[in-house]
Amino acid sequence: MTVWLRRQKRLIDYTVASLLRRAARNFALLAVYTLIVFVLATVMLFTHALRQEAMVLLDGAPEITVQRISMGRHDLIPASYVDAIADIRGARDVRGRLWGYFYDTANGANYTLMVPDGDRYGAAPDVGETVAGAGVARSRGVVPGKYLFLLSPRAKLFKLKLKDVLDADSEIVTTDLVLMAESDFRAFFDVAPDVHTDIVLKVRNPREVAKVAEKISNALPDCRVVTRGDILRTYDSVFNWREGILLALLGGAIFAFVIFAWEKASGLSAEERREIGILKAVGWETSDVIKMKMWEGAVVSLGAFLTGYVLAYIHVFYFSAGLLEPVLKGWAVLYPRFELTPQVDGVQVATLLFFTVAPYIAATLVPIWRAAITDPDAVMR
């Protein structure tokens, strides 16, 4: 065993020395490789953490949401529907909700205006007051105690006293919220008193959710029913699908890198060929040269993998994936500031390893072999 170890040590000694001799070229390869691992790992860590966050946060979403659809669009739902749903067995706490979107001409941002349920949310605003998400307060520069001015769609100026700002830690779900009292909301949007945006309800027995949902859509055929399971599955698959698509797109980058690695490994310089020729002349066997070259690949790919992965972890969990922000933000004015709960998943690390190291090794195998079978006399002549 010690003989074997000493042999490998010598091989690595030689490999590292030969890598250092061509430091500039190898550094370029290492840098590109590290960058690829970094981008892939960032995407994987970020989507995984977001998915987990969505699963935890939305686990408390209403068990069933009912919305009325008219001409393919979400429409206001009459208050009479609340009673109709309340008659269905198993449904309880049926409640009409009021919420809507508002485009703020002052800063070009979209807000979600909402009337909270006073029974559930203790700090609900009174008439003339508001509680806003941290993103709204930040972008409008309002602090608690001051006034938030909003120009209603009917061109009336509303003056709401900012009672409180929602916990900045929860920005990922609340950044664009503007909470207000029901009468303010109806006056602001000029909504009739007998309609709601949608209806939420609870189900007494969680096993009956599907049954109740079916009864609702039978009783109210113009309504769409969204269960909590639908919401969770939507987010799960949105992130899975996005992550997969991104990886497939990045596959192009991996492929380009593989070609680069192949080129680099097969385009041996005259100097390298001479080196291998001399090694064989002094008694190295073909399998030794292959081993040496494999060590070279291992040093490069493991180095790139470890560095890229650790950098991606720091990027995602200490800098909130700041480099991805422009992509996620799009044209939006409000973008939540959030810190994700650190998550590392063994399956993910294994997948990442598979995606990055395997193609590299596969690409360099044949060139390595080509180099290794070089005849000593062919190069030294």
Binding site: S237, I290, W369
Partner: protein, 333 residues
Amino acid sequence: MIFHPTILALLIGSALSSVMVLAGAAFGVRVLRRWDIASGRHGQLVLERRTYLFSVLLAFVMVAELLSLLLFVFNADRMSAQFVGAMCAVGTLNANAFGFPALILKIAVFFLASVWLIVNHVDNMGYDYPLIRVKYAMLIVIAPVVLAAAGVQAAYFLDLDPEVITSCCGKLFTQDATGVSAELAGLDEKAALVLLFGSLALAGVVAAVHARTGQGGMLYGAVSVLVFVAAIAGIVSVVSLYVYEHPNHHCPFCLLKPEYGYFGYWLYVPLFAGTVLGMGGGPIAVFAGAPSLAEIAPRVSRRLVTTSMVCLTGFGAACAYAILSSGLILFGT
């Protein structure tokens, strides 16, 4: 479904492996027909040079296949959250008809690939390519299995529909159901335990004889297969009960879950390692007939069989620990 990152990795990996194994098998046919170490023809020289390439290439494929089995099972367990009715890997694998065949084929590839790696290792130690024909004949047998595993796996993932309501392990591994899984679950507990520890003891005896005299390598290979079968039966019918501390929960996959402290890995890793080393390591002794391996083959064989027995002892210890530390009492004390 197919855009799931791990699924993509598995599909790409098996596609790459298939191409490489096919190329290797084609080369194997040429080796079997043309190989003649005594000849100095140009063709022979080309063949000799190529063997270096394929030796490395196939070693790479085989290692990738070993990792891909792990990833496959991991992933099946992880994806159970996305299927209605699934609670562990069983539900995910049961989501369509290709799940379990894919797993079984991947396990078969795992065993074949490991044995091939052992033969390859020994062959590389001899200076005159002593096992080259054996190696490539084996490869020609392995290639269709690798291709079948890749195909069935692809069919499984492509056919995976998140809307399908699958059944959980509770339905599959019960005495009342039909099929192999139910047969295993319904096995008499006492008989299963006797079979499990009996086969381990038998393996121990054969390993001791082998270490002392160098005889019985082939036998040890056969016994390690027996141990594997007995172990799987034992895990499903008895050991799982002790781990779950529940008299009717027979699932061999839930063992891998964090709720049970990942105990399954303490069982499966030594079991698979021990079986594979035994299957490959025992029969290796036969190759002592080749002049360049006369000294090497028995030495390697002895080392592998000893390691195999260490692994199997570890597996037995894990089973014993599960039984002794459990709160469940199956037999009157």
